[in-house]
Assembly symmetry: C2
Homo-oligomer: 461 residues x 2
């Protein structure tokens, strides 16, 4: 796999000494001598390190400037097949082991499962076309970020290899079932899902409902820049996700991505309250209407816990109680001036069971729509109201327009994001028979999707 | 009209002295004696002022704490009918005159036209229901903010009285035609449009195209809180809009609203690059991907001019060249996981001429949609791509998904906001015959709707 070759100075050093991946090597540094196997290393950040698996089983990344000599060892022995073979194929194997120089815990490190689904975090630039293609598996990713092995013993698995714009509700079910399977093994301190960023916030919301009451943290992370670009955010995001999975006392579904333009601060967002708000910047993800759950700065995790969130890890877990299905008969529809109400009739006739409106301001659509909405509701289609403003809460009690919508049975969804409202409706529809129950549950706060701050406090975002 | 009655302490003082609106009064203050007519004053900020029209024709607001005595004057005379009658009915009359104590310019002040269209800025709370209803005309508004008369002589006109969620493209045409009529009179330094905030950014974008090359500034402003609430932003927004209309050297269409949570800083946004990003906060409006054109802090207007914007006032104007029509056969459609491509066929069959997608990330929809999009394009429907991320630029060259979309003829719209893309398409469709021309013009920067910053600079929002 090209993805695990060295390049630049590291490559030159290896060629000069006629050393290939999987071979036994001895490296002399100022701190001592290391013997082991040269690991494949994807060209993630720079070309200044080589990575080797020591005889004690730990991985270590060594900076070229610290290498006084490098030479082939006596044997290509027992590690070769394991590393070059399995590491590139990678289903359900523990390949992570701590760097012996840096491990903070003697003996067994806490275990984390890393499940890859595709996306930029597992991509690299095709230097021929200038575009990006998806090539890395979870174990490639893990191998390319050896720092992770300082914190955790990581089991990797490839679940999907899709850019996230191609993910559908049935993929959320796959993810949820896989996470339940891993969690029920009882051996993982947390689970990390590498995921494309385009729809990461839809998936995190969907998993929040499907994995409601999951006893451990499930963390989605990804990259806005492919892993082989110098500006890639992949490594820091993966390291932060691992640290949070191990060290936090939280359970639930989270998104961890860059918090600002620096390359050292990460934010941990609630799965139901996060949104991708920039097409390309590394800090594209933001918590909506609440602070991020935590900020992660190097070794320091600063919890910003809101006591009402009830996120503590749990001892109880009934693994047969999870509901992981989603019903696609829901549309997310943005209102705008000139919106033609006829589309509402089309949706009713086409079998849609619910419409999530992104209304204007406090949750409005024009009076032109009232008649068609009333007909839709009379036909049994549920109409939910969110706001295209993104920040702030809908309120249908302030203006005539809102009161008219309430009057015909439109259901306002407080400050739930439109994206979360969509997946919550899909989830409730798949798992409940009665629309009365669904409408009631849509207005209940099940997974922190509605913030409990009073409207007056929300005044300033 | 209830909207022009006094309340609270001012009302008590007037009742105590048996003085009614329209009557002649004499007020003695520490600074001198004022004789004139008691003007109607809407209860906008507080109950600490009365407003009178002096015999020299100027209006003055007097703080109750400065009043040593107030009494009925000798005659209800020539001003009565004018004020109580016309001021409440208000078509095309100059009612503004400077406060003689405060006027900075002797003699004639610059003229501004204030056109009201409805919305919260012209609303008050119904204390019976707790809701808000629309009641104020442009002249009511003007009378309620006497500070404006320090800067400008204001002509007021009621064009519409609609909450902005009920405004449609045909209303944009009405607004544009009215503004052209006013501008062509050649007597106004600027034009202010009071407008509901729900769709103010759609209207500002629409007017930017319909009034392309307008020689003077056209400023949309409104309020997030009704004018009679203590926290109302109506007065400051109106004052700032007036100052900017008079003092700036800019032409074009702008939105002026609160810039932060304080009640003293305003931001002036380009009409094509502004969005309502909060349901209720007073600083809900933000410039997208560029800085606001100006910040207004009390008397100080700080221009933040980007030299590429070409906004200077113009001497030339061909009033017959404006194109003020819009074609509603466009839909703004948000992509999400689970989006059913069948809706695309419905739109083609229903006669839509263009679809503006809010894609994910850099401008993506799932590969499930490709076939239907291809059919739509083959049927002559134009497909334009924007991003639901709001900030940042679409780029269809980075990923396979994007290249597939480009391949079938989807047209990417750089960093144009979805809302601006929608109204630009509506405007081009109404005024051009050939889809090739329209696609080309959609990618051209006509009214600063595409920022000229390179993608790399846009990296950080």
């Amino acid at each position: 796999m090209g993805s695990v070759e060295y390049k630049g100075k590291a490559s030159e050093l290896l060629i000069e000494n006629d050393i290939k991946i999987g071979q036994s090597i001895n490296i002399q540094t100022n701190n001592g001598k290391y013997s082991g196997i040269l690991l494949p290393r994807y060209e993630l950040f720079d070309d200044n390190h080589v990575v080797m698996k020591l005889r004690n089983g730990y991985n270590i990344g060594i900076n070229l400037t610290k290498i006084r000599s490098i030479e082939k060892g006596s044997s290509d022995s027992q590690y070769g097949a394991y590393i070059v073979g399995k590491a590139s194929h990678n289903v359900n194997q523990t390949i992570g082991r701590p760097n012996s120089d840096q491990a903070k815990v003697e003996g067994t490190l806490p275990k984390v499962a890393l499940i890859s689904t595709g996306g930029t975090i597992g991509s690299k630039i095709d230097y021929r076309t200038g575009g990006v293609t998806s090539v890395l598996s979870a174990s490639d990713l893990y191998l390319s970020v050896p720092e992770i092995s300082r914190y955790a013993s990581v089991d990797t698995e490839v679940l999907l290899n899709e850019y996230s714009e191609n993910l559908r509700p049935e993929h959320w079910t796959l993810m949820a079932n896989k996470i339940i399977e891993k969690t029920s093994m009882g051996i993982y301190r947390g689970i990390i899902l590498s995921h494309g960023t385009d729809t990461m916030h839809y998936s995190s919301a969907a998993l929040s409902f499907a994995l409601r009451n999951i006893p451990i943290p499930v963390i989605l992370t990804g990259a806005q820049r492919s892993s082989d670009r110098p500006s890639s955010d992949a490594a820091l995001n993966l390291i932060g996700a691992t640290k949070f999975a191990i060290e936090s006392e939280y359970s639930g579904v989270f998104v961890i991505m860059h918090a600002d333009a620096s390359d050292n601060l990460l934010a941990c967002h609630l799965g139901t309250r996060v949104r991708k708000n920039h097409t390309s910047s590394r800090d594209a993800f933001e918590s909506i209407d609440i602070k991020p759950v935590a900020l992660i700065n190097g070794e320091n995790i600063k919890m910003q816990h809101n006591p009402t969130l009830e996120l503590q890890r749990r001892e109880d877990a009934n693994y047969s109680s999870y509901k992981t299905s989603f019903d696609r008969h829901v549309i997310l529809l943005k209102y705008y001036p000139g919106f033609e109400p006829a589309i509402i009739s089309y949706l009713v006739q086409s079998g849609y069971k619910a419409i999530i409106f992104e209304g204007t301001g406090l949750g409005h659509v024009s009076n032109e729509c009232i008649a068609q909405l009333k007909q839709a509701i009379n036909s049994g289609v549920m109409i939910f109201m969110t706001s295209q403003c993104i920040w702030g809460r809908v309120n249908l009690n302030v203006y005539d327009t809102g009161r008219d919508l309430l009057g015909i049975g439109v259901v306002p969804l407080s400050d739930m994001t439109p994206e979360t409202a969509l997946v919550k409706t899909m989830w409730l529809l798949a798992n409940n028979q009665h629309s009365g129950d669904i409408k009631r549950m849509m207005q209940e706060n099940m997974c922190n999707e509605i913030s409990s701050i009073s409207p007056i406090q929300l005044d300033k975002k």
